[in-house]
Subunit: 610 residues, 2 copies
Amino acid sequence: MWRFLKRLLIGKPLKTLEEGSQHLSRTKALALLSSDALSSVAYGTEQITTALIAASTVALWLQIPIAILVLVLLTAITLSYRQIIHAYPSGGGAYVVTSTNWGRNAGLVAGGSLLVDYMLTVAVSVAAGTEAITSAVPALHPYSVGIGVVIILILMGINLRGVRESAGFLMVPVYLFIVMITGMVLYGLYNIATGQVAFHAAAAIGTSSSSITILLFLRAFSSGSSSLTGVEAISNAVPNFKEPKPRNAAATLSIMALILAFFFGGITFLSYWYGIRPNDHVTVLAQIGQTIFGHGVMFYLLQIATALILAVAANTGFSAFPQLAFNLAKDKFMPHIYMDKGDRLGYSNGIMSLAVGAIVLLLIFNGSTEALIPLYAVGVFVPFTLSQSGMIIHWFREREGFWLGKASINFVGAFISFALVIILFWMHFKSVWPYLIIMPVLLRMFWTINRHYKAVAKQLRVLSKEPIKRHHYDGSTVIVLVSNLTKATADAIDYAQSMGDRVLAMHVSFDSNPEKEHRLGVEFKREFPDVRYVDIHSSYRSITEPSLRFVDEIAKGAKERNHSLTILIPQFVPRHGWQNALHNQNSLRLRTALASRDVTVSTYYFHLKE
Amino acid sequence: MWRFLKRLLIGKPLKTLEEGSQHLSRTKALALLSSDALSSVAYGTEQITTALIAASTVALWLQIPIAILVLVLLTAITLSYRQIIHAYPSGGGAYVVTSTNWGRNAGLVAGGSLLVDYMLTVAVSVAAGTEAITSAVPALHPYSVGIGVVIILILMGINLRGVRESAGFLMVPVYLFIVMITGMVLYGLYNIATGQVAFHAAAAIGTSSSSITILLFLRAFSSGSSSLTGVEAISNAVPNFKEPKPRNAAATLSIMALILAFFFGGITFLSYWYGIRPNDHVTVLAQIGQTIFGHGVMFYLLQIATALILAVAANTGFSAFPQLAFNLAKDKFMPHIYMDKGDRLGYSNGIMSLAVGAIVLLLIFNGSTEALIPLYAVGVFVPFTLSQSGMIIHWFREREGFWLGKASINFVGAFISFALVIILFWMHFKSVWPYLIIMPVLLRMFWTINRHYKAVAKQLRVLSKEPIKRHHYDGSTVIVLVSNLTKATADAIDYAQSMGDRVLAMHVSFDSNPEKEHRLGVEFKREFPDVRYVDIHSSYRSITEPSLRFVDEIAKGAKERNHSLTILIPQFVPRHGWQNALHNQNSLRLRTALASRDVTVSTYYFHLKE
């Protein structure tokens, strides 16, 4: 039943060797990995203008120089990440680059930041997408958290089905958004060029005012930097590309950066020219769309495309998070389960952890996302800084060909990113402080896990020089747990006698019915005269503690005899799973308790036929 | 840590033989078992007047004849239950009486009704108690569901500590309530007798009006019958009394019925005399209290006592439900876990199931209880009818002494109860219909469980006439699951060789790293030349299916050889529980899958020291 459902929802299992065919072409990769970055334009310009208008309307012209600075930053980051893709074609992005060049701890800071960030990506994008839906259909507003949860679960399902198929699924909304925004920006510029739209800007560029300060500029710039979130996704996912992987990935990154630059530049320019003022009810993007298209079909199509790409943006996290978790697990910093591939070759555990984390964030913040955006930006720019400064070290180490030029490009990227982190902490401390708590906790967790795996490996290691220390037992003792005299008991004793040189029957008796206990002993000894029967008395209705005491005693004797020791627990296997609830769980408790002892616990399955 | 917490909250475990000392004196039993019945007066009169005033104010005088009829019913039920206590001193109440006299199915209807009813008791009483609290402190109103859940959890904790101690805990509120209501009724009557309060009734008894119909009378009477819920609790709990159990239980029941009759009669008479009209803001009981005591300390004390006894009333369910579940489990109609006594000699599983059920009801109905009261009444009066009519059969069978008189008493009780069930279905079908769905489902569940237990017993039964069929194996085959070559592997092989005559090593290999797989095979064969090494290839990254296929094949061979078959799975036991999350769960999955096969699964524990 469960297997059937899983098949239906997730698809038939794929062989490991089918993996090659799961790789992405450029067009599909663009759809799968660029939605996070591109969808940022839905709120990037708005973040800048909201910060500016808080000071004065005149300050709005600052959005043009800020946009130019953001575009410079975008160029530097894109060039820098192209270099990273070529230098580290096995993926892992900021985590791998930083670990290699700056060392473990810095790498873990980058990795930890991104792990948290991917959860924020999913939560923020889904919440924003849900807002777009509920703005279109206000009747759905009371159910927005529920809608968000459903969207996350749908994305989880798509990703559990496998990478390639999800790309097929997600191409439509991304390309629809690209077409809609391109059309809007071009038509808007055409209107301006043909003079059909007059100059409406709140204040011309260069207008001076006492309200225009460096602090305001920095605050607005750092808010606008949220437009650059998601750019790193492609560099983490290089192994998912078709061969030649690095070239295809780098080309996809460049295409994405050009589209993003055109969109962000165009939208900000139109926002300046049309004198758009941000307000609580209609987004800046929607205002621009309404001005250009009017309140018709095209406007609604724009809104739908925006809502869809925000939902799809959440999907970026679903490709990047499991890959990063895999890299951390491979280095023994996260549990090994993140290395298991599922039936459809996705890292199922990473996908499910991400979904759970994002749903929790959605529930905690009740779908309100504005306070999360600065934290999100810090989580992005810390790894940007680390990986790009790491690349400078990389070039200094290699010193080949045009290395000084490459190092300079990375220096510009690193410098602007680092400055942004400082500005974000300075200007938005109220939203950003949790980062200072989450990071140390994550680092401690990474190292605790790492120490454990290393300690285990050391204890298990077989040195190839010396022969393995073997233990030759002289025989085996088997203790059979007996609760009453049934066919199951008899079968278990028969089995025990085939395995053990010495077989004991252990029965735990209670105060409630002494005659019955006595009769059982007599009957047992009559049926199995060759098995020593031991009746252990319990005053507390628990079989665990007296059993453990008895086992410890027998273990001592077994050691003296050089016997191995086995505890055999008969267990019913009913025909239907639910029937397990009808059989008492004493044996399960005993098994758990025995795990603490140096014995082997065997389960004798007695299959019930009806 | 968990053990320490459990000790702290639940107390130190009690020996089975300490059970005798856990029995109840009359005073304590009254506190523990009467709160449900007595607290009904907090809403009984109100239910009647609310039904009457919906027709007309004049109809309010009907509360006097209705109250008299309720008191007749109370007398009949009390006498009837006294007879039941003496006839069935081992407890079980309606379930046992009905099963014995009417047969299994009728008994299960009674038992099922009461199981559901005890959950309703807890939910309704806790919700009503919470309402009393939030009426006193309106600021707490938004948290009422949370408060209800906390109260249920506290009651669960008290009951897990054991019966006697909880009675000590709960005596104060019950006796406070008894003192408060007694004082209020006596003072109110004194005021009337001394002429200090004039006759305020809305209409004198006998005033005729077109609005007074038989239907109205029946509707109000059936609503008022909710005052009688909880009377059966004592007859279910006879085994909890001190010796002589039946006499003490019967005496407690009579005392309780007298108090209840005095309270219900007094309150209804005062409500009539003072012309109280029910409204949504102040309860009838509070209105009477305010009229008699004024708006001072005594009034608040009355409200507190009311709130407390309602909370305590919920506790009745906690003594009755586990006992009834025990009786049903003993007859193989409910899972055996309801027969396990906990550390403190309470039936822990029954207590916890009840708490969970009541919390779920509280959450579903969001603390609104009015619609539940008719359902609650049906759940009470169906078993009343069944057990009392069953008693008539009982007397006819015995035909000793004053049997005809006793049968007549039970006949009156059965007749009125049956009439009430009919009236409740007729007048309150909108609230009562779920009963028609819950009962068939419960009955089906009871019988399904019963059939399973009987089928199991049949399969396990050893006939004492013929000797037990034994199986003598000629040897044993052991398959060791090997994932790599470590000290744990070596230890497991050593162990397997002590047990098995033929040892095989099974390794599941994947496509990802063929050289590594090959090297493992070579090294293993070098180290363990006497063990057959089998490399099973999996294309789907699952070890379960190929392992099962291999095991099935070996099982065939073992059968031919007349060998027993064991699968040995090595498992790491880390020093700290959380570290289990760091080791993959493949072996657990394999173990679950192997339970379907006719093999024995052994777990070799390798204890990690760091």
